[in-house]
């Protein structure tokens, strides 16, 4: 069976090479049969990799411990979910998973464009399959998932496998990696379309229209992946943090940042035909950073709390990255004339320039994170001493950038396209600006000495008001025309331009999340040894340790503390943080107790008992406003979904295409009539 799996992977590799070459030559020389053959190879690769994945999953589920991969990442007692998750739980399997997702995406792309974009599709396919060649090369020759255990020439099996780390046996951890992979891999598609139109010098913005939803979905997957990781860290790791600027976390953040920049700057290209080079650079950077992130998590070049094996595949990644960067740079430089801008910037006070600065800041933050992440590697290369930087560096740089970005989120919609006169600015800025400033003054006056926190809350209020105003004013204007009430008008407004108003919902979500992030400035923590019945005080809470209970289940030994929380003498809740000790892996984990509330979370970790066994070691934390982050996350998902729904306008056909959001000003309606017949 393992032979069949290996064969499928090897064959997929050969077909990927074939598809890359056939599509390239077929597109170049305009040979439709070669192009069609390349596209069929895409489907065949998907089938082969699905077969290989199926075989691996079968081996994992049935516990075929002859396979090295199964022995290393699964064991008999693991629940089915985690046995399945072992597919992407280890190096070899996760690369197969990567390749399989890419194959699935490619098949979808080829199928949905079987009639459209025929001029660029061959090149799109060859870029996709070029990437595929690299990943199938890795799993076919370097880190094969179907290697069997053997002593000498004799294939053997082990009685039971090592199993998955208990810390990772958590539902969030089972879906966190696939979400990130879906995001990482997904950016290959817009990149392929960008390169396809660049190679072909295809006029127009077709590649952006086609991949717009694709990019959004990919971005959504990546956001979910990152936030799931944050939520897991908060619930499981026991120190209450959700983000630690760990190299691996950074690796997932980097393409997310450039992807976000891309989502914004494509609007400039669609609306005004500007920033074409920039968008090419951004989408390429996003793709390359995705590959780079995959590389960083596998190669062990930076040490991290997520432990990584030193592995032989690092050099292959470096070679692939170098090759890809070389090709992209060559293509962009060679086709600079094709990417010339169709418009120029009219004024600093314009929507355009707010997009520009948004991009500048996102890019700067991306560089800062990259720089900090690679600092040990860079410093070792240049000074010979390996120096690392950690959270204080990132916080110091990223907090101001984040705040400035937040401010721009609010300012963007207030500027008009092209130019904004002082008159328009006054209309738009006055009330939100005054409200934001007033909040800052009030907060400082009432004794908030944390400057960044006061600024952040002020900005949040400013941006929040701006967004709400956008909805209200829009609904008003629409309601006047259609005679609808405020709420139905808002819904109608959103349906007519899902992208803009969905975007505003996402921005609102960001505001809510920033409120949550800002809460971290007021965290309180206390580590204390308490005897039974003893009590201590943290924030507004009086905490009393009532007792410690012990017990055992099949998998682990547990003991947990019962801690009663009182506020102003009134009983609030009993918290039961637990410690577990897993016999099989000889590892202990803690299950923290969290009391979630809108204003602050009470978070208690039972760190163990003191040496004499009489006292409980308790770590208690108060985390203000953390829940806002999770609420914001949900809202962000919702907003992105709204963005992906086609606008009502597009769904209708023919002339209704022109109805759109326009209302009033009949001169516009008249002007549009000839447009339909413009081709005459």
């Amino acid at each position: 069976m393992e032979n069949l799996g290996s064969l499928a992977i090897l064959f997929a590799f050969l077909l990927a090479v074939f598809a890359t070459a056939a599509s390239l030559v077929g597109g170049w020389k305009e040979k439709p049969f070669l192009v069609a053959s390349g596209e069929r190879a895409v489907y065949a690769i998907w089938a082969l990799l699905t077969l290989a994945s199926g075989l691996l999953i079968y081996a994992l589920l049935t516990g075929d411990f002859r396979l090295a991969y199964v022995a290393a990442h699964s064991n008999r007692e693991m629940p089915i979910l985690y046995k399945f998750a072992a597919w992407w739980g280890g190096q070899e399997g996760s690369l197969l998973f990567w390749a399989w997702i890419l194959a699935s995406y490619s098949a979808v792309v080829v199928f949905s464009n079987r009639r459209s974009h025929r001029r660029i599709m061959p090149f799109v396919v060859s870029v996709l399959m070029g990437t595929m060649t690299f990943f199938t090369l890795l799993i076919a020759f370097i880190v094969g998932p179907f290697e069997v255990l053997a002593v000498g020439k004799l294939v053997t099996a082990v009685p039971d496998g090592n199993g998955l780390n208990p810390l990772l046996q958590h539902p969030a951890m089972a879906i966190h990696p696939p979400m990130l992979y879906l995001g990482y891999v997904g950016f290959t598609v817009p990149f392929a379309f960008a390169m396809g139109s660049l190679i072909r010098r295809e006029p127009g913005e077709a590649w952006i229209h086609t991949t717009r939803r694709w990019t959004l979905l990919t971005w959504l997957f990546q956001s979910i992946g990152i936030l799931l990781g944050a939520g897991w860290a908060y619930e499981v790791l026991g120190w209450g943090g959700y983000w630690g600027w760990d190299p691996v976390e950074n690796a997932s953040l980097l393409p997310w940042i450039t992807g976000t920049a891309f989502l914004h700057s494509v609007m400039m290209q669609e609306k005004k035909g500007m920033m074409k080079v920039w968008n090419m650079v951004l989408i390429s950077a996003t793709f390359l950073l995705c590959i780079f992130g995959t590389f960083l998590t596998r190669s062990g070049i930076v040490s991290s709390v997520h432990a990584f094996a030193q592995s032989p595949i690092g050099n292959y990644f470096i070679a692939f990255l170098a090759l890809a960067i070389g090709l992209v740079v060559y293509l962009i430089l060679d086709r600079m004339d094709f990417l010339h801008s169709e418009a120029r910037l009219d004024s600093v006070m314009s929507r355009e320039s707010s997009f520009l600065f948004n991009n500048l800041l996102l890019l700067a933050s991306c560089f800062a994170v990259l720089w900090g992440t690679l600092f040990p590697v860079l410093s070792e290369a240049f000074t010979g001493e390996k120096i690392s930087v950690d959270a204080p560096f990132f916080n110091r740089v990223m907090v101001p950038i984040g705040l400035f970005l937040l401010l721009l989120t609010g300012m963007g919609p207030l500027f008009a396209w092209r130019r904004t006169s002082a008159d328009s600015l006054r209309r738009n800025f006055l009330w939100p600006g005054v409200a934001g400033l007033a909040l800052m003054v009030v907060l400082v006056a009432f004794g908030m000495h944390h400057a960044y926190a006061a600024i952040s809350f002020g900005f949040c209020l400013f941006v929040g008001i701006v967004i709400v105003t956008e909805f209200v004013k829009g609904a008003n204007a629409l309601g006047k025309r259609t005679g609808q009430w405020m709420l139905p008008a808002m819904v109608e407004l959103t349906r007519r331009n899902t992208r803009r108003y969905g975007g505003y919902i996402v921005h609102m979500a960001i505001v809510i999340m920033f409120v949550g992030f800002t809460g971290a400035a007021f965290n309180k923590e206390l580590t204390i040894e308490v005897p039974m019945g003893g009590s201590f005080r943290l924030g507004g809470y009086d905490l009393r340790v009532r007792e410690i209970e012990n017990g055992q289940t099949g998998n682990y030994v547990w003991n947990h503390a019962k801690v009663d929380a009182y506020v102003n003498g009134r009983f609030l809740v009993t918290m039961e943080p637990e410690r577990r000790f897993y016999e099989s892996s000889r590892q202990s984990t803690s299950e923290v107790a969290i009391r979630r509330a809108p204003l602050e979370d009470l978070y208690i970790n039972f760190a163990g008992t003191s040496e004499d066994g009489q006292k409980a070691v308790i770590q208690a934390y108060v985390f203000p406003l953390v829940s806002w982050i999770w609420v914001g996350s949900w809202m962000m998902f919702l907003g992105t979904f709204v963005c992906m729904v086609p606008s009502k306008v597009d769904r209708q056909t023919g002339r209704t295409k022109l109805v759109s959001t326009q209302i009033g000003d009949p001169s516009l309606d008249l002007e549009e009539e000839p447009a339909v017949r413009a081709g005459d």
Partner: protein, 154 residues
């Protein structure tokens, strides 16, 4: 057993990838040489509508709105002129191509296949069965009345 399976798999996949009959080639939608210009025009219209809407929302002062509108209309004119240039070039190219041994038709009409450029640049019109409007391109839906067009030609 495994061997037979493997050989079967290889053969099936190879046949699937390599044997392609002419009728398996996908039907290709005709490529419009002015497509990207139409796109640009649609974008400008959208910008106009946006500016109008922002004016109605009270975000734009009347002066700003008029200035922006004038700019956009100017852009629109430029694009229209460009479309006409491309169209007239195509027509003349077509005329030359009709003459025997004329070879520069393809160079002037950069389309994917000759067959396609024929249908685009030709004098063929695609007429809506419902309202009678005619178009130079085969449309799925009529651009005038929105009813479905079944590629009827006149």
């Amino acid at each position: 057993m495994i061997l037979a399976l493997s050989i079967g798999l290889v053969v099936v996949v190879l046949l699937y990838v390599l044997v392609i009959r002419p009728q398996d080639l996908p039907f290709v939608e005709p490529h419009s040489p002015t497509g990207h210009l139409d796109e640009r025009k649609a974008a400008i219209y959208e910008n106009l509508r946006d500016a109008n809407f922002e004016f109605l929302m009270g975000k734009l002062s009347p002066d700003d709105y008029q200035a922006t509108k004038a700019d956009l209309q100017q852009e629109l004119n430029a694009v229209n002129v460009e479309i006409q240039t491309v169209a007239s070039k195509l027509d003349s190219g077509k005329a030359k191509a009709a003459a025997p041994k004329s070879s520069n038709a393809k160079a002037q009409a950069p389309t994917s296949t000759p067959a396609v450029s024929e249908s685009v640049a030709g004098t063929q019109r695609f007429v809506c069965g419902n309202c009678g409007a005619s178009f130079p391109l085969p449309l799925k839906f009529c651009g005038e009345c929105g009813s479905k067009m079944d590629e009827a030609r006149a």
